[in-house]
Amino acid sequence: MGFKYDKHNKYHRLGRSAIITVVSLLVLMWVWWVVSTIVQKTLNFNTSPLAYPQDAFAALFDLIKNGDPLEHRPLSDWVLSSLVKFVKGFILALVIALPVGLLMGNFKPVREFLTPWVEVLRPIAPIAWAPIFVIIFQATNGSIMVVFVGIVFPLLTNIVFGVQKIDPTLIDAAKTLGASDAQIFLKVLVPSTVPYLMNGIKVGLGVGWMCIVAAELYNTTLSGIGYFVKFMIDNSSYDYAFAGIIVIAVLGLLTTGVAEYISKVVSRRMGVDV
């Protein structure tokens, strides 16, 4: 029985990429195992800080079933507390970036005045603020602020870019159809900016997820998946630390995947092919 790969068959293509992905992940596990072995052999630790993949996955299953080994809190507890902070930081960023971005895009003096601020602050890694924010705003709100800083700039720059990219003939058309300036703003400018806003959200969510995990490393309260990793390392439970890292990776993948999907749907709905 001969199987022939047909690149015009949707199921063949899907099967192909599924197989490649699985093989790729298996090889990654193997590389992880090899590196762990090397670290173990050369450093002569009792328990290597670089846990073996099989230990990490065993810890992960235990974590899901019985909660963490020290406090016996369920995994959902650790994850949800991170997600809540993440969402709060995201909403705060959106609430600030949307009006400021629209103003900057629309009014040249505002743009000229605020651009230096953005350009000075944007290159600073958001996590650099974490130690200060944790002192100023306390652990929880400090982490939220780090997420805010991480998300607000990609949102802002994308919105400003979107407003400036608007096709001027659309504004001309609206004017000849009698739209007032306020109507042009609401009915032409805002909708035409939406695809760019979605792109900003897509980028922002990825950055934001990195920020929350990193910011939680500076936490002193027992909350968040980032703190969980630090907590386990401090206790030399490296296998559980790596289980936490796997959870972080999967959740990161989910957030960006969802954002990508929504962004695609919205952009199509708004008539833009991204």
């Binding site: 001309d172 058309a173 004017k175 000849t176 159809l177 009698g178 007032s180 009915k187 008539g271």
Partner: protein
Amino acid sequence: MSEPKIKIEGEKWGKERTRADRTDELYAHIPEGDTLMKIENLRVVYRTDDKETVAVDDFTIDIKKGELISIIGPSGCGKTTVLRSIAGLLQPTSGTIKIGDNEVKGPGSDRGMVFQDFALFPWRTVKQNVQFGMEMAGVPKAEREERAMRYIKAVGLERFADSRIHELSGGMKQRVGIARALVMHPAITLMDEPFGALDAQTRNIMQEQLVKIITHSERTIIFVTHSVDEALYLSDRVVILTKRPSTIHTIIDVPWDRPRDRTNPEFTKLRKDILAYLEDQNVMDD
């Protein structure tokens, strides 16, 4: 005669905008064939840092109610500049444009416009695009829907009323553009090379369709084109511009009834004469 519902006033140019629906009714008292719009000594100068370009100079004309008038000229002349000045999208350097007794002081719904690159809102469906102006004017939803559908049918797009713009062909897009402008019943409809982005065959079909539309409803249309053939096929009068700075070279009355026969020897001769003039102006592109 009642007082006009809308007056365009205000200190700042372009800030007071006519937003009303059915602005043609404001000029119902002007009989067909009388002057609806007066353009006097229109002059437009473009300024850049180091030089001034006079695009249009000493442009004076009366537009009659119910006529289709084409503006044609060598490429790079101020055809579109004239049209954009009338639309109020561009502030003339000097001169006046008056519709009835109202001076143009910015864009407004009394001068509907059809754009060369369609300028449709991609996030709206065909029906929502056609309704845009009525929405701005606050026309009730039921009336909006009914009128939009009537115009969508008139341009033969009823099957696509709920389609999105990117699903349409170029010709279909421009039919939406035309419906969107005409549904507002503007006092004057401006068309800026509306079929310029279409292929030759679609272009002919669109010209025939436009002829049908204007023979069924009285419209005053100013039509910018660079196709002599198109101008002669559609217009009651053809305004021929000189090259920059553009002024009016000649105004030709086109005598034939519509629909016209492009192979008629007189038609061909007139076309040849105009082409020869344009060629003489040294910058030809048709």
